[in-house]
Amino acid sequence: MDINRRGFIKLAGLGSAVFVLGTEFSSQAAEKEFYFVQLSDTHWGFNDAKYNPDSTGTLKKAIAAVNNFEIQPDFVVITGDITHTNDDPKERRKWLGEARDIINGLKVKDVKILPGEHDAALDNGEAYKEYFGKTYYTFDHKGVHFIAIDNVSDPTSSIGESQLQWLSDDLGKLKKDSRIVVFTHRPLFDLYPEWDWWTRDGAKAVDLLKPYNNVTVFYGHIHQENHHNTGLIAHHSAKSLIYQLPAPGSLPKRERIPWDPAKPYEGLGFRSVEAKTKNAEYFIKEFQIKKG
């Protein structure tokens, strides 16, 4: 564990800030630990220099940065809005294909992908599935049960009864103290419904997760960090890799924040998450995209 810990600190040194969850540090060698990288809201196809004059380069810079990590993550998760909205189904597929090709440039070949509403809401995820497969699924990794929830393919920003039943069935197989990590695109709680920062039936998913003691949610959608708890469940949103959005409710309207030439890539970045399964702790490290 010490070797891994040192290695992680070394790669974490490349970033700009550390956010630590939990206070207990275990040194027991038996503890399983690993780390993954979360990218989000890459919006491939977005093209407006007012908000990002490097719209075709930002995702590639993030991938290059991850590829340069001395210790590679166990996997990379991309929590939706891989592409920007395209009203033309043919062009939508073109963008999805281009994004997939760029993502394939990751050294890590285990890449978990979820749709965002920009990818999937116009056709109920039809085109998305052709390129990236299922929109909701589970997997287990080193003692953690991961659940990817699709709250975007339904254009009403709902999870839907059949997926909620699937979630209920899946959770029913777990112990109350299981380590559970949820990936999703929209917040499952009412972060700021006035700006569509919610999931219409998200409370039903939260209710299903509530009986479990170790649940952490990583999501995207709002293009900024946000850390919130609903009971014992921690929810962490990620930065975008295309443009910034204002803090919830801080402006009369949700409007993109223009690019600041004096601070290029400000607010754009990705994160690594070091999982320490013994205590269900997750150490989040934020990385900002840098010029060059």
């Binding site: 909205t85 009203d87 006035e194 569509d196 009369p252 309207k253 949700r254």
Partner: protein, 123 residues
């Protein structure tokens, strides 16, 4: 006499029913609801700003000119789908003056995120 009691009871019952009926009619006449028509199309509402009075109920009649849109005003607690080809009604009753944002919450395309409006509630 039991028969006399039944007759009195019937008269009282009829009087109560008549009072309830006429009182309800009078109330409805006094509180006639205002109707405001709003059309929705990609990616705008028309009008996108409406003014109403605090404490006066208003019916919004929402119609779509193209696809299914949404109308969601969380702070006033109203939402509906706006299906094309039909008039979709919601009732709003604002108890506090202020500006209340509404937005389309059925993803409708590239301009979806800009499809917003506001309800201005005056004293």
């Amino acid at each position: 006499m039991p028969q006399k009691n039944i007759s009195i009871l019937s008269i009282v019952l009829i009087a109560v029913l008549m009072f309830v009926f006429f009182a309800g009619t009078m109330y409805a006449a006094d509180q006639k609801e205002i109707v405001i028509k709003i059309t929705a199309k990609k990616f705008e509402y028309s009008p996108d700003s409406i003014k109403i009075k605090k404490g006066i109920p208003v019916i919004l009649e929402l119609t779509s000119l193209d696809t299914t849109h949404g109308f969601n005003c969380p702070k006033l607690g109203v939402r509906t789908n706006i299906e094309p080809g039909k008039v979709n009604r919601v009732r709003i009753l604002a108890q506090k003056a202020g500006v209340y944002a509404f937005f389309c919450d059925v993803f409708c395309g590239s301009g979806h995120e800009e499809m917003t409006g506001k309800i201005i509630v005056e004293d």
